[in-house]
């Protein structure tokens, strides 16, 4: 019986994590303290070379095409091999997710949902409630959003034009970290690091970006 509190403590140590502390800014409005914003401002069509890495090694390389509209939050994406084969095609609106083509492993359960969630995380401003804005202990500026599903999204600016997104579970476990390398208006290189049963990274290098003019 004496072991139970100890085991509970161990359980908490390994499963309960806390979000990084934010020192609130004295300025509570967007004008005085603008939130870091690496997100698309208008509809764009983006083509990236994507390297998939596990355990520090490149495992595969594909071409990713993304069509994202920050106004409607509609996202379409395709994954293509260098040889031109379409491995995956899906489109998502706030209400619906439609997969039109998916070869293994993209046909696995939840792959489409998670992939489009990652794309939205990277390109679209969080739609959750802005909970706080301020500074992290290292001095970075940060805005923290609380999503409807209970997860937390921190958008961080470590230095000018060096932005990060971190998504945490409701219990504070870091699940995604996105790093942006911006030159001009569009990020030339994006890194997404995923903490899952098997950690992996996606390195996205911009091939072309095209603003989509509404018809």
């Amino acid at each position: 019986m004496k072991r139970i509190p100890f085991l509970l403590l161990l359980f908490c140590l390994f499963s309960c994590q806390t979000l990084p502390v934010i020192h609130p800014s004295p300025f509570a409005d967007e004008k005085s303290f603008p939130c870091p914003n690496p997100f698309l401002k208008s509809q764009y069509r983006l083509v990236h070379a994507i390297e998939f890495r596990m355990a520090g090694e490149t495992r595969a390389a594909v071409i990713g095409v993304t069509l994202a509209d920050p106004l409607t939050r509609a996202v379409s994406c395709s994954i293509i091999t260098p040889e031109g084969m379409v491995l995956f095609e899906a489109e998502s609106t706030p209400d619906n997710l439609k997969t039109t083509r998916a070869f293994p492993p993209f046909d696995a359960q939840n792959v489409a949902k998670n992939m489009l969630a990652d794309i939205k995380l990277i390109f679209l401003e969080p739609k959750g409630k802005l909970e706080s804005r301020g500074y992290l202990p290292d001095g970075s500026t940060v805005c923290r959003y609380h999503e409807k599903d209970g997860s937390w999204v921190d958008v961080v600016e470590t230095e000018p034009k060096r932005l990060q997104i971190k998504r945490y579970t409701s219990s504070g476990e870091l699940k995604r970290k996105v790093l942006f390398d911006r030159k001009g208006n569009i990020d030339q290189r994006i890194e997404l690091h995923a903490n899952e049963a098997f950690n992996y990274s996606l390195l996205m290098s911009l091939i072309e970006a095209e603003p989509v003019i509404a018809k």
């Binding site: 390297e51 090694e57 595969a60 084969m85 070869f103 293994p104």
Partner: protein
């Protein structure tokens, strides 16, 4: 995934090989004589060509353009290299097949298990190399003649293949019989158009081309 992905890659290799081993005399096509295709194919010992690949999809406003080089030497040596936008190379030499990807300033070997399946499929490609369009059970082949061109259409028979490829059309120039382009239709508005240039046949190709990434 890798089986299908590499199968697609090897279908492209197959097309590259077959199209250059087509006979120079279009009467062969007119006569719908696949046996003649095979007879002409054995004359090809090496070949090299540039290619431009244009991928069209509904999500794209204009085709995604890739470029590269293709080398072949009988009986089964291949180098299939994309130079842009994503660098990758498939090398096959003396039953040793490897795939390389460009990463962080250098070419790194693809360590996924797909390379093994590539070896198996390359065995089939060796059969295709001899112009056996009508002998691959995965495809039904037909030849048709138009005003200034002729074309071979390969339609998948296998159900798994049908889900991946709708049809493959190989377009031949009327007089020379040289392949001008290949169109691979995947359905749902997705297709890949490959145009060939600077085809060189039976020139000496150093063996290192098939062995070394460079």
């Amino acid at each position: 995934m890798l089986n299908k992905v590499h199968l697609h890659a090897l279908i492209l290799i197959f097309i590259f090989c077959c199209l250059f081993t087509l006979p120079a005399h279009l009467s062969v096509a007119q006569e719908n004589d696949f046996e003649a295709l095979r007879r002409e194919a054995v004359k090809i010992k090496t070949l090299k060509a540039d290619f431009v690949q244009k991928k069209s999809m509904k999500i794209l406003s204009r085709p995604l353009v890739s470029e590269g080089l293709f080398y072949f030497a009988t009986p089964d040596a291949f180098r299939w290299e994309y130079s842009r936008p994503l660098r990758s190379i498939v090398l096959s030499y003396k039953n040793n097949t490897k795939r390389y990807l460009y990463s962080e300033g250098k070419m790194v070997e693809d360590k996924t298990g797909g390379v093994q399946s590539m070896k198996i499929v390359l065995g089939e490609v060796a059969g295709w190399m001899t112009g056996k369009f009508d002998q691959n059970p995965s495809f039904k082949a037909t030849i048709s003649k138009m005003a200034n061109t002729s074309s071979i259409t390969l339609t998948p028979v296998d159900e798994n293949m049908k889900g991946m490829i709708e049809k493959i059309e190989i377009l031949l120039a009327s007089r020379s019989g040289i392949v001008k382009s290949v169109k691979i239709s995947e359905g749902a508005g997705n297709f890949t158009q490959i145009d060939f240039n600077n085809v060189k046949i039976n020139e000496t190709i150093d063996a290192s081309v098939f062995r070394d990434v460079k």
